[in-house]
């Protein structure tokens, strides 16, 4: 499988083998291999909306591989403000770099950029749509604790309706037929068409409104925040928010070995006391953004095969 020149836009473009290859290379990089393989290469990070952690982790990944970074964050400081189209921005920047990372508030902007660009484009988030490298690092983190996706039992908790990370990860896991449990208030359930897609791919799914009956069931619980602004009625929010807050006691009830993941940033959906438990792997997960993005950059630029 050759990634050279390939843009990474959506998890729907990925096959099982491509995901496993990215995980394999990430693992090699984490083990100390491939240092300096992007020497002399330039990455452009085009952040049309702010995202500190994603941008910093891409920049760190590029520099750790020996490459350099150009770019901007926030369109206020660019020609975009003068009215330049995305098309022209991308066409121009392609001449300055070996790969582009783009974050844009408009859905589909990264796909369009990849169709215009002459270098590979990596989507670092396009509105509510896709953020594939987050999914890669989620999958990679799981493989550090569990051997086989098809035998993994994964739960998702919180806002499953709007959560882009949940949608992408659930889709990716469905390629491995991973059984999944979706736990959310009625108002924030998984979109029906996505549930059908996951089912068609061969995953068994369960939808629940609370964690009560899941003692000993899950290997991984992936937690996301329930945003206040999704609720018209604040009383309704207050009622729901408490039920989806993870405390030490709740984790202990779920099972001794369950791993807790979260895409971060967290607000109060996981109590700080959970951090000290071995079950909490969300900071490891965040740090895995570096080797995974190193792997993706090396593969699409073509210095890693």
């Amino acid at each position: 499988m050759d990634f050279e020149g390939t843009s990474i836009i959506s998890i729907r473009d990925m096959e099982r083998e491509s995901l496993l290859r990215i995980i394999e290379v990430s693992n090699e990089i984490k083990g100390g291999r491939h240092a300096g393989c992007l020497e002399g290469k330039v990455l452009a990070t085009l952040f049309f909306e702010p995202s500190t952690r994603t941008r910093l982790s891409f920049e760190s990944a590029m520099r750790r591989m020996g490459g350099s970074v150009i770019g901007f964050a926030g369109e206020d400081y660019t020609s975009v403000r003068k009215g330049e189209s995305l098309y022209d921005t991308i066409r121009t920047v392609c001449g300055y770099c070996d790969a582009i990372v783009i974050r844009h508030p408009v859905e589909g902007a990264a796909r369009l950029a990849s169709e215009v660009a002459t270098v590979p484009v990596i989507n670092a988030g396009d509105g509510a749509n896709q953020h594939p490298t987050q999914t890669f690092l989620d999958l990679f983190t799981m493989t550090e604790f569990f051997a086989d996706f098809s035998k993994l039992r994964v739960g998702f908790l919180g806002d499953l309706k709007y959560g882009r990370t949940v949608h992408s990860l659930a889709y990716a896991l469905s390629l491995f037929r991973t059984p999944m449990w979706f736990i959310s208030p009625e108002l924030l359930k998984m979109p029906e068409d996505l549930m059908q897609e996951i089912g068609r791919n061969g995953s068994k799914t369960h939808e629940l409104e609370d964690l009560d009956r899941l003692e000993g069931t899950l290997d991984v619980l992936y937690v996301t925040r329930i945003q206040k602004e999704r609720f018209g009625d604040m009383q309704e929010y207050a009622k729901v928010a408490g039920c989806y807050r993870l405390t030490k006691k709740v984790v202990e009830q779920l099972g001794r070995d369950v791993k807790i993941m979260h895409p971060l940033p967290r607000v109060d959906e996981i109590a700080m006391e959970v951090d000290e438990l071995e079950n909490a792997i969300y900071f490891k997960q965040a740090h895995n953004g570096i080797p995974v993005r190193q792997a993706v950059l090396g593969l699409v630029v073509g210095t890693l095969k």
């Binding site: 959506s10 729907r12 189209s85 995305l86 098309y87 508030p105 408009v106 859905e107 589909g108 902007a109 796909r111 369009l112 396009d126 509105g127 509510a128 749509n129 896709q130 068409d193 897609e197």
Partner: protein
């Protein structure tokens, strides 16, 4: 095919679109942009063994191409296309749902790049019966019944 059949719908040259779902003929004309394309004959509410009721359109001196057929497939997937030349049936074909609709369907997501930039819309087929499409750019799903033609 007997000649008699074609006397009922007689055109010498052009396209007959048969088996259009009842009451959809005007929409088909709209989609194909045929309002000012010469002589049209429209039949609405004909009896049909297959469909109960159906509409029929005859377009004189115009031979529908595949791209146009693709446009019709969104609202009349069961329609049949008859190409008539010199008074005889020269070609009869069913409408096929393409793998992708390019520059036909409007994306209803106001935050899709196709609503913000000059770019041709592209919709891929998720399933054909009932027809469900997905925007190539923002990846939103749309059911055939909710499709808006550009």
């Amino acid at each position: 095919m007997s000649e008699k059949t074609y006397k009922v719908y007689a055109i010498n040259d052009g396209t007959v679109i048969d088996h259009i779902p009842a009451q959809k003929a005007l929409k088909v004309i709209d989609i194909l942009g045929l309002e000012n394309e010469g002589i049209l004959t429209i039949g609405i509410g004909f009896s049909s063994h297959k469909m109960g009721k159906k509409d029929i359109i005859k377009i004189e001196n115009k031979y529908l191409k595949k791209e146009e057929t693709d446009r019709i497939s969104l609202i009349a997937p069961q329609a049949t296309i008859n190409i008539i030349r010199e008074g005889g049936l020269r070609e009869k074909r069913k409408i096929e749902i393409p793998k992708e609709y390019i520059d036909i369907v409007k994306c209803l997501n106001p935050n899709c790049i196709t609503s913000k930039a000059e770019v041709k819309t592209r919709f891929k087929i998720v399933q054909s019966s009932p027809l469900v499409l997905r925007c190539h750019y923002c990846e939103r799903i749309v059911n055939a019944g909710d499709v808006e033609i550009q």
